[in-house]
Symmetry: C2
Subunit: 162 residues, 2 copies
């Protein structure tokens, strides 16, 4: 699906959601949705705030961002993650299911896809639980940090020998 097409669709979904739940259709809310769907990957409230100021020249308060994000999560248009200190968000409509690799040393987060894994999770029988979505976080060392540690270790050993 093309980008503009996606934006139109999510706008429509959001409108329906707002109508159904008796919320007002404010320009702030649509501007936030529009901005979020122009961001690839994860973002936090601060990044979203900056981006709206810079790119869309539309200023909204952080409070409104927090408020609106909750609506978007309920409308199933955004999902929330809790990797590190602050909450991370990402658009969820028309996005491939993916999993997250998080480096325990440098904190870098990368995404990867795996059909088998996805299938295994979605087919899991859950007792008395209605699945809505899920997050798989895999922790470990990214190649960069693994290499850095290896070098460090060699250096330390050399020092000891001296």
């Amino acid at each position: 699906m093309e980008i503009q097409n996606v934006k139109d669709t999510v706008r429509q979904i959001f409108t329906e959601y707002l109508t159904t739940n008796g919320h007002r259709k404010t320009p702030e809310r649509y501007a936030i949705l529009e901005t979020i769907y122009s961001i690839d990957g994860h973002f936090d409230i601060d990044a979203l705030y900056s981006r709206m100021m810079e790119q869309r020249k539309f200023r909204v308060s952080r409070a409104t961002l927090y408020n609106t994000i909750i609506l978007l999560i309920n409308a199933r248009l955004v999902i929330k993650h809790q990797f590190g200190a602050s909450s991370q968000y990402e658009k969820s409509y028309n996005r491939e299911t993916h999993h997250h690799q998080i480096c325990t040393q440098c904190g870098k987060v990368t995404e990867f896809q795996n059909g088998e894994l996805q299938h295994a999770i979605e087919e899991t029988k859950l007792n008395r639980f209605q699945l809505s979505h899920y997050s798989l976080y895999i922790y470990g060392l990214c190649s960069k940090c693994a290499r850095a540690n290896k070098r460090k270790k060699i250096n330390n050993n050399n020092k000891k020998e001296k």
Copy 2:
């Protein structure tokens, strides 16, 4: 493995970790480890703090709890989760691998085990990444909230008809 046996073993692992990394073996650190391994399931810093005061009559500052937990995570004796607002922790030695179901409405977290799922995740080929551990969070509605919503919906419909 019996509880006391586990506690002795983790104590030993922690001692080795502290020695290897040039950290001191303070009574605070062992008291914290001991308390954590007497807690079943998840806890946050506040709960740990209260528990140490009440049960072990050993008072440590929150700062020390945060410091020590980092050591325990590095020693692979504790793992950290980020469900809601505050970080949640749990002991990890000699504990069955398990996954988490989180109710998006009431926030209740329950654990479940699934060998197939565990196997599928552990066998996943990761490109340039050294797996250390992982967390699978499944979001949705617990049976209680699902029932509550159903009732609510019926009530709303009745009201409309009147």
